[in-house]
């Protein structure tokens, strides 16, 4: 039976998809039974959504492209 530590490592390092079908099934089964590892898996997803949310605040102003085009055209 795969350990919580190994499941956590695979989830955190995005390496699940590179594993064998058997290993992936083992991880899914573990997640179905382990409340703490499934919490970790859920948090990785939520961290992703939160990070995408953060990009709203990083959007440049609408004139960015036109300014760059003007400057680069002069080169």
């Amino acid at each position: 039976m795969i350990s919580c530590k190994n499941v956590a490592k695979l989830l955190m390092s995005d390496q699940l998809e590179t594993q064998t079908t058997w290993k992936r099934m083992e991880v899914r089964l573990h997640l179905a039974m382990c409340r703490l590892c499934s919490r970790l898996a859920r948090q990785i997803e939520q961290l992703r959504s939160g990070a995408r949310e953060s990009r709203i605040h990083s959007e440049p102003d609408p004139e960015l492209e036109e300014r760059l085009i003007r400057r680069l055209s002069g080169r």
Partner: protein
């Protein structure tokens, strides 16, 4: 041309001839995600714009070396990566040892069972402020980990493309994204937003 497909030979020829419309098309397709990534990497608004301009200038100077086999986006993000390292003077950073690995290991016993389980961050992660909190925590990530996290989680790029941009193996990428997430989780837990 779409940002995610290799550019056509005709489009590359037009770029090499410095046709204004071709240059404008490349800028309109790619400037915004590059700028967003630069901001995600911690550059201020004006620094990010300057950096993106620098990326396009280098791109135009080295256009003859671009064979068009990869996506234009991959090439441009690769230039952004090298410019980031130059500006952060981080090229010599040694990523082999990182104390966050010990922090992660300390969460488990010898049998691989949780001894310090992941705190319940549901309330924080679903809050309206989560974007700001994560941005704040991202400030504590070393530059390579921050790049891996921004390209994967903010820009949503696939592992293969990120590995090409950062010139790293899939295994190295796994180490970087693991450490980035571990560090962000520790930071979020330290904020004390756990459910009472």
């Amino acid at each position: 041309m779409t940002p995610t497909s290799p550019p056509s030979i005709g489009f590359l020829e037009r770029l090499r001839r410095r046709e204004p419309e071709a240059l404008a098309e490349a800028v309109r397709d790619h400037a915004r995600p590059l700028h967003r990534a630069a901001r995600g990497l911690g550059f201020e608004e004006h620094e990010a714009e300057d950096l993106v301009q620098d990326v396009f200038v280098t791109f135009l100077e080295r256009l003859d070396q671009f064979e068009g086999r990869s996506q234009l986006r991959t090439w441009l993000f690769g230039i952004l990566h090298r410019k980031t390292l130059e500006r952060r003077r981080a090229a010599a950073v040694d990523d082999r040892m990182d104390p966050i690995d010990e922090v992660f290991e300390a969460r488990f016993d010898g049998n691989g069972k949780w001894t310090r389980p992941p705190a319940d961050l549901e309330r924080l992660l679903l809050s309206k402020e989560i974007g700001d909190v994560i941005r704040g925590c991202m400030g504590g990530l070393p530059v390579h980990q921050r790049e891996a996290f921004v390209l994967r989680e903010v820009e949503g790029l696939a592992t293969d493309e990120i590995c090409k941009i950062l010139s790293i193996s899939v295994t190295n990428f796994g180490v970087l994204i693991h450490r980035a997430r571990a560090r962000l989780r520790e930071c979020l837990e330290s904020k004390g937003w756990e459910r009472p």
